[in-house]
C-alpha cells in the first residue's frame, strides 16, 4: 500500500498497465516529455520510451481518430484530452466511429480505447476549463462512462478501462486530484494522504465497471452522486445531521441500477446531485429510472441539485458550484415534503 493523490493513482494505473501489456500506448497534448499539464503521465515517457508515451499535436479529433486506428491495429491506446472542455472536436470520432465500430462491423473490428479527461469545476477555470460533459457521452450507445471520486477507485477503474474491450470515457474530477474537496472552498482541502481512500496498492488491481459503492449507509433519504459531488454530499449530510445514504455511482454507463433501486426502495426519498447543468443532464435519467422502478416506495418528489443552466462563470464560481449548503437544503426539502 502507498498513499497516493488521484494524480499519482491515475499515473500508477497507466504505469502498471504499460508494464503488463506492451500494446498499451499513452499520448495526448503535453503528455510526453513534460508529463501532462496535471502531471498524470509524468515519468512514463522516460520509463517506456517515446513511442509508447508521446506528445500529440493540438488536435483532439486527430488524437482520438489516430487512437481508433491504433485500436483497429490491435493496440490499446489510453489518450488524454487536456480538459473535458476540449473534447468537442473529437466528438464525431467518439460518437460515430469509436462507439459503433464493433456494432457496424459485427465485431470484425473493435475499438478498445480509453479517453481520459479532467472534468468539472472548482479551480476558477471559467467556461473552458470547468465543464462536466458526461451526459453527452452517456447518450451515446457503445461508449462506457466512468467518473471516479477517489484515488483507490481511480486506479482500479482506469486499469479496468484499459483492459476493457470497448471504448471508455474516463472523466477525472480535477478538483479531486489533490484531495477530497467537499465544496468548502474557504477551507484548505484535506490531502489524500490523510484519507483512507488515498491508500492505493502499488501493483495491479481492478474495480469492475458498472458497480456503484455506498459511501455512507443511511435510512431516511438516498443521495445519488458521482465525482466531486460525492464529497460535497457527504459534507452536507454531516452538516444537516440527516441520516442519508450516499451512493457513489463511479460508472454512469453501464449504470448500477440495482444499488439505486435497493436504496431508494428502503429510504423512500431521493436527491440527485451533479455539477453539470440541469436540463437534459444525467440527473434527468437518474430521476426517470427512480420513478420507473421505485414509484410506489417514494414518499416525496425526487430533488435535483446541479449547476445552473448557464455557461460556467468565472468570478461567480462559488455561486454556481452546487456546494454543501445547496445540497443540504435539498436534503431538507426531500425530508420535509
Amino acid at each position: 500500500m502507498a498513499r497516493m493523490t488521484m494524480i499519482e493513482a491515475v499515473r500508477s494505473a497507466m504505469d502498471v498497465s504499460m508494464g503488463r501489456d506492451e500494446d498499451v500506448v499513452v499520448f495526448g497534448e503535453d503528455v510526453g516529455y513534460f508529463g501532462g499539464v496535471f502531471r498524470c503521465t509524468q515519468g512514463l515517457q522516460a520509463k517506456y520510451g517515446k513511442t509508447r508515451c508521446f506528445d500529440a499535436p493540438i488536435s483532439e479529433s486527430g488524437i482520438v481518430g489516430t487512437a481508433i486506428g491504433m485500436a483497429a491495429y490491435g493496440l490499446k491506446p489510453c489518450v488524454e484530452i487536456q480538459f473535458a472542455d476540449y473534447m468537442y472536436p473529437a466528438y464525431d470520432q467518439l460518437t460515430q466511429e469509436a462507439a459503433r465500430i464493433r456494432y457496424r462491423s459485427n465485431g470484425d473490428f473493435t475499438c478498445p480505447i480509453v479517453v481520459r479527461m479532467p472534468t468539472g469545476g472548482g479551480i476558477f477555470g471559467g467556461q473552458t476549463h470547468s465543464q462536466s460533459p458526461e451526459a453527452l457521452f452517456t447518450h451515446v450507445c457503445g461508449l462506457k462512462v466512468i467518473v471516479p471520486s477517489n484515488p483507490y477507485d481511480a486506479k482500479g477503474l482506469l486499469i479496468s478501462a484499459i483492459e476493457d474491450p470497448d471504448p471508455v470515457m474516463f472523466l477525472e474530477p480535477k478538483r479531486l486530484y489533490n484531495g477530497p474537496f467537499d465544496g468548502h472552498h474557504e477551507r484548505p482541502v484535506t490531502p489524500w494522504s490523510k484519507h483512507e481512500l488515498g491508500d492505493v496498492p502499488e501493483g495491479h488491481y481492478s474495480i469492475p465497471i458498472g458497480k456503484a459503492e455506498i459511501r455512507r449507509k443511511g435510512s431516511t433519504v438516498t443521495v445519488i452522486a458521482y465525482g466531486t459531488m460525492v464529497h460535497v454530499a457527504l459534507a452536507a449530510v454531516e452538516e444537516t445531521g440527516i441520516d442519508a445514504e450516499v451512493i457513489d455511482l463511479r460508472s454512469l454507463l453501464p449504470l448500477d441500477l440495482e444499488t439505486i433501486v435497493q436504496s431508494v426502495t428502503k429510504t423512500g426519498r431521493c436527491v440527485v446531485v451533479h455539477e453539470a447543468t440541469l436540463t437534459s443532464g444525467f440527473g434527468g435519467e437518474l430521476v426517470a429510472l427512480v420513478q420507473e422502478h421505485c414509484f410506489y416506495h417514494l414518499e416525496a418528489p425526487v430533488v435535483r441539485v446541479t449547476g445552473w443552466d448557464t455557461p460556467y462563470p468565472h468570478a461567480q464560481e462559488w455561486d454556481y458550484f452546487p456546494g454543501p449548503a445547496r445540497v443540504g437544503r435539498a436534503l431538507t426539502e426531500a425530508m420535509e415534503a
Binding site: 499535436p57 481518430g65 493496440l75 466511429e97
Partner: protein, 410 residues
C-alpha cells in the same frame, strides 16, 4: 472617396451547367510518359511539380510509355482488366437490384474502376485500407467473395454486418478493408493511426486512407496530414478527385489552391497527381508510395484525377446539376476501354475475347446474385434477427440493453 470599395463575396461556379456544352479545358493534361519518376527517397521539395501535373502511362494509341511504365506483365494486366470488368458488371446488377426494391441504396463506381482495382494490387496481404464507399475494387481485386458483398447489400440472413449497416458499407479485416463508416473523412485519420501503430510495433505492414475531393474540406483531412507528417507514418493518403461531391463541383472544396495534391506540400508530404483512369499509372504510383512507406520514409499523398460517370448514389440525378453529356467529354477516357486497347496492342487480348469475357463475367455475377437472393433481399426472404439490433453494441451486453431486448420480445 475611400480608396477601398465595398466588399463582395466570391462563390465559385463550375464552368458549365445543365444545357451548356461540357468544357474540361481547365483540366490540363500532360502527355503520357512526360512526368519523371523520382527515387522514393527524394526530398518532397524536389518534386513539387508532381502535385500540379498528371502522371500518365497509357497514351492515346494505347501504348505504355515513359518512366512509370513497364511494371506489369500481360497476365497481371489481364487480371486487372478482369477485376474492373467484374466491378462494372457487379455495379450494373446491384443498381438494377436497387431499382427492383431488393435493397434501399446503392453506390456505383462507373468510370473510377481503375483507382481501387489497381491500388489493391500494389499492396500486400496484411496491409489495411480505410476506404470510403467507392472503393469496392479493393475487395474485388483481393478476391473477396462477391456473394458476401451482395449479402451485405441485400441485408439478408447471411449479411456479414447482420443488417446493421447501410448497403455497400462492407467490412473485412481479413481482406485489409476497414469497416466503412458512411461518414466522410473520419476514416482518413484512423488510417494514419493504424500506420503509426504498425511503426510503433516495428511491423512491416502499411495503411492506406481514402477520401474524396469534396471531403478534403473536413477538418479530419487536415489533422490526418498533420499526424502523418509529424510521425512520418507509413501511410498512403489517397484523394479520389472524381470532380463531383454529390451536386457540388470540386472547386467548392478546392478553393484557390491549384490542385488537391498540392495540399500535401505545406505538410512536407510528397504529393503526386495521377491519371485515375489509367490502370498502369495508378498501379505504378501506388507501388511507389507503398515502397516509400515500407522503407519507413513516411506518408505519400496521391490525387487520382478521374470522373464520376454515374450519380453519387441511387438518391440523386446528375442531370439536375451538370450537362448530360459531360461524362462523354471527360478527356481521360474510360479505364476499361483504355486497358483493353493496351492489351490488344500488346497482342494479349482481342475484341472477341473481350466480348466473350464480358458475357462470362456477367454470368458469374448473375450466378452470385442468385445465390445471394436465395438467402433473402431487404424486404423478402431470409433476414437478420431482431436480436441483432441489441447484440454487439458492447462485447458484453449490459443490463439496460438486455432489458430493452426483452421488452422488444426477444
Amino acid at each position: 472617396m475611400d480608396e477601398f470599395s465595398r466588399l463582395s463575396l466570391h462563390v465559385p461556379e463550375p464552368a458549365v451547367r445543365p444545357g451548356d456544352q461540357p468544357d474540361f479545358s481547365n483540366v490540363k493534361i500532360p502527355k503520357a510518359g512526360s512526368v519523371p519518376r523520382p527515387e522514393v527517397d527524394v526530398e518532397p521539395e524536389a518534386i513539387r511539380d508532381l502535385a500540379y501535373s498528371i502522371i500518365r502511362v497509357l497514351n492515346r494509341e494505347g501504348e505504355a510509355v515513359g518512366p512509370w511504365a513497364g511494371l506489369l506483365s500481360d497476365e497481371e494486366l489481364l487480371t486487372g482488366l478482369r477485376h474492373m470488368m467484374l466491378l462494372r458488371a457487379f455495379d450494373a446488377r446491384m443498381l438494377m437490384a436497387q431499382r427492383q426494391g431488393k435493397t434501399s441504396f446503392y453506390m456505383q463506381h462507373l468510370g473510377e474502376e481503375a483507382v481501387s482495382c489497381a491500388f489493391r494490387r500494389a499492396l500486400r496481404k496484411g496491409d489495411m485500407n480505410f476506404p470510403t464507399y467507392r472503393q469496392a475494387g479493393l475487395l474485388i481485386a483481393d478476391d473477396y467473395p462477391m456473394v458476401d458483398m451482395m449479402n451485405q447489400i441485400f441485408s439478408n440472413e447471411l449479411d456479414p454486418c447482420h443488417g446493421r449497416q447501410l448497403p455497400v458499407m462492407y467490412t473485412s479485416k481479413e481482406h485489409g478493408f476497414f469497416t466503412i463508416s458512411g461518414n466522410l473523412a473520419t476514416q482518413y485519420v484512423q488510417a494514419v493511426g493504424w500506420a503509426m501503430a504498425s511503426a510503433i510495433k516495428n511491423d512491416t505492414r502499411i495503411a492506406a486512407g481514402w477520401i474524396g475531393d469534396g471531403s478534403t474540406a473536413e477538418s479530419d483531412f487536415h489533422s490526418s496530414l498533420v499526424f502523418a507528417s509529424t510521425y512520418k507514418a507509413p501511410v498512403i493518403l489517397n484523394i479520389v478527385n472524381n470532380q463531383w461531391a454529390i451536386s457540388t463541383f470540386q472547386g467548392i472544396a478546392r478553393g484557390g489552391s491549384g490542385t488537391f495534391a498540392a495540399r500535401g506540400l505545406g505538410f512536407g508530404i510528397p504529393a503526386l497527381r495521377v491519371d485515375g483512369n489509367d490502370y498502369l499509372a495508378v498501379y505504378a504510383v501506388a507501388r511507389w508510395a507503398a515502397k516509400r512507406a515500407r522503407r519507413n520514409l513516411g506518408p505519400t499523398l496521391i490525387e487520382y484525377v478521374t470522373y464520376r460517370v454515374g450519380a453519387h448514389s441511387t438518391s440523386d440525378d446528375p442531370s439536375a446539376y451538370r450537362p448530360k453529356t459531360e461524362s462523354e467529354a471527360w478527356p481521360l477516357g474510360d479505364p476499361v476501354l483504355r486497358l483493353k486497347k493496351h492489351l490488344i496492342l500488346r497482342g494479349a487480348w482481342s475484341d472477341e475475347r473481350h466480348a466473350q469475357a464480358e458475357a462470362e463475367i456477367m454470368d458469374q455475377v448473375i450466378q452470385a446474385q442468385k445465390e445471394a437472393e436465395s438467402h433473402g433481399t431487404l424486404h423478402a426472404g431470409g433476414r437478420p434477427s431482431v436480436r441483432d439490433i441489441f447484440e454487439g453494441v458492447y462485447a458484453e451486453m449490459p443490463p439496460h440493453i438486455r432489458r430493452q431486448r426483452q421488452k422488444a420480445g426477444y
